[in-house]
Structure formats: structure tokens, C-alpha cells
Symmetry: C2
Subunit: 253 residues, 2 copies
Amino acid sequence: MKYIQSLQNPQVKQWKKLLTKKERDRSGTFLVEGFHLVEEALKQKEQVLEIIVSEKIGIPPSLDAGETPIFMVTEEISNVLAETETTQGIYAVCRQPNVNVGLDDAKTFLLIDAVQDPGNLGTMIRTADAAGIDAVIVGKGSVDIYNSKVLRSAQGSHFHLPIRRGDLHEWTSILKEKNIPVYGTALEGARAYTDISNNDTFALIVGNEGSGVNKDLLDNTTENLYIPIYGKSESLNVAVATGILLYYLKKPI
Amino acid sequence: MKYIQSLQNPQVKQWKKLLTKKERDRSGTFLVEGFHLVEEALKQKEQVLEIIVSEKIGIPPSLDAGETPIFMVTEEISNVLAETETTQGIYAVCRQPNVNVGLDDAKTFLLIDAVQDPGNLGTMIRTADAAGIDAVIVGKGSVDIYNSKVLRSAQGSHFHLPIRRGDLHEWTSILKEKNIPVYGTALEGARAYTDISNNDTFALIVGNEGSGVNKDLLDNTTENLYIPIYGKSESLNVAVATGILLYYLKKPI
């Protein structure tokens, strides 16, 4: 175990850079914060490069880090890395997974178009995981999948299923060629979701909080669905809508 | 229209106090922020006591305030009232609705036990509205229903259906006496929600983000339900779970 006390330490500077998408992309790594996420990451040890622990909390006795290097740091350094107000003082630097693994066999997909709120994106990833969806494809205009708030809201689901960035136009074509029905979500020119029966294989496209799924995408889907509004609200939150649709479309195991 | 320039103005001090639950309860009023919520409030003019507009934005031409008094204030005063980082500079002081109206005829209920995140509570209220639920009862230990972030996440649904605080034990007894089935949500000792058929009348209890619905409550329900987890996530977000269950249990109109 190494002990780092200086904010000027090059390792600290590198960790700090991981708070930016640019450096996460360049290095192919990302930083998770908190016990739960560090534990989830350590379930596959090869994906964890380094563990960082604040000297204020010390190494938790239950931490099963295997051969992973552990760095003890001052509270000051820990606070520089923290993205929560009351940090638990434990972090892991993780390798971005090879997102092509498992994609060839995937039968159910969630395609996410330009969802900007990190809490929404993380909750949608968590929901796709819970519903047993095989893969999540995140299109342009969405918040970064390794943003700290996305990671936190997803509660570890980043380590459970392939999540990758991709061009949703291309994915729609690829999936349709494979005879996987692609359902868009729209308020107009769409069928009630309850008209569709559940299925072993499908892709669902959900979209931006304000403007919904891009029109060009909707023009190329197999079918577009809407969720009826029985009361007076104008719409549903996108993560809630995703949950209703995925749990309806997915064939119970 | 009155013009207020001083932060020391008693009216400004009173508005500022509405940022606290204590003063909202004492005065029976609450403050909403932003065009959308002010417009939703003005759909029933008698519930709006005052409108506050920052001189920086001026009165929007589309604003249909009727006889409601409008106060123009400095940007400084507006910023004191703002709970968002980029405020739209428009507010309304609203009367807390008489929450007993409509309750006698209500057939579908959402009961919320100790949900602490204001974004979750607001999204759940919005979801109940969308699903056409007749009333929302919020139990002890939950964040205040008139908290600014709850209001924002609910996107106006506070003005669409009765939302009231209440003792969920008492409500469970009352509803069961009326032959309304009360469904709890639990991870253990529960049936898959898909075993239940949809119904014209029901109450659903959902609970705290970490610990779920209180055990004493679960012991007194008609039946407890769970949502199967098909993947590797441990649970669903409570607002997403609420959406899945309400849209499943609710009989389409």
C-alpha cells in the first residue's frame, strides 16, 4: 500500500483528470466513488486498476481487493476527488469495459437518444439491468455514460451489462436487418404500447427529456409506441416511461 | 402592479420564509417558481394569491393573471427567492389546496411511506397523475410535499390531484374497510405483481429508497407485491417501480 500526502503528486493529478470526459476517453478508464460501486467493480477484479482510500476512513475490513494496488490518501486529496457532498472516501479507477463483448448474442436492447440529465441516464441503465435487457446503446447528445452522477444513479449496473456509445441510426438499421423489431416512443402517430405483445427480442428507443426521440429516428423504426396519459400531467419522466415499457415488452423469464 | 426594490420589504421577507416548511405550514401557502408551474397554478386562479416577476424578465405577454396581484421585483430580490441556478424570474404564491376535496369519491390511491429524495417524490406525484390515480397520501418521514424540488419534479401535478399528508396505518385501515385492496411492495414474502389483475379500485404503498415500506405497514396490507429483477441490479428506483406498478394495476379507461 502506498501513502500519498501531496496534492501535487502526479498520480493525484491523473485521478483528478478522470473527472473530465476527455481524460476518461483518452485513458479508457473511469473513477467510481463510494463503497457500493467499489464493491461492484471488484466483483471482476481485472477491471479495477487502483483503489484509493482516505486515511480518515481507513481500509474497510470487508474490502476484498485481491492484488489490486491500494493507495491511502489524505482527507484533502480525497475531497478533491469527491463528487458527492458527504463522500465515503473510497474510490476505484476502473478500465472501461470492452463494450463489444456480448453484443452479438444480445436479443433485447435499450437505445437512448440525447438524454441529458445524468440522474435520468443512470436510472435508465439501472432499470434496463433490472429488466434483464442485454445491451444499452447511448446515442449522441446524451450525457457521458461514465459521468460520476450517471455512475451513482446506475448503482453498479455499468458492471452488469454492456453499455456503449453508438449511432442510433446505424443501430436501428442493423437491428432491423437482424429481424429485431425496433420500437420508438412518440406522442403522435404512435400506437398504445399495450397493443404490442411481449417478445423475446426487441429494441426500445427512448429520447430527450424535452423533445423526445429525434424525428429521423422515429421515421425508421418498426413501430412507434406511446404510453397513455389518463390524468392531467403532460408526460412521464423518461426513466419512469422506460421502466413501464421495458417491463411490459420483456417476456418474463 | 407594485414595484419592490428593497430586500428589507416585509413582503419580500414573507416570501423568503416560504422557502421553509414551517412557514408554509403556518401560512397554508407555498411558492412555485418558473413559467410552467405559474401557468399551471393560474389554471385555477382562486388558488394563486400573488405573482412575483423579476424586472429583468418583465411580465410575459402570455401571462393570464386575471385579478391576481403582480409584484415586480429587482433581480436581487428574485435571486433570493430562486431555488434553481438559472431562475426564470417568475414565481407564484399559492394557497395549499383543501386536500379533502375529491377524497370521498377516490377509487385509486398511491400511499408514499418515507420517500426522502425530493426528485423521487415529485416524479412519483407526476407519475400518479399520469396514471390517472385519484389521490396521493404522503406518510411520515417523507420530504415535504411543497418542497421546491418536489414541486419542480412534479411539473404541476400538485394542481391536478389531491395530495395530502396522512398516517398510512390509518389510511390502510380506512381503505380496507371500504373494500379497497391495499397492496404493499416488498422484496420478501410477496407475490409477483403480474399475479394480480388490474382493477377499478386499489391502493398501492411504496416506500423509502433504502429500507422500503415499513414492516408494520406491510403486515396490514391486503397483499404485498414485488417486481421481479431479471438482471443483476439489486432493485429499481422507487419512482420507476411506482410507474411500473401503477400502469400495471390501473384499468385502462
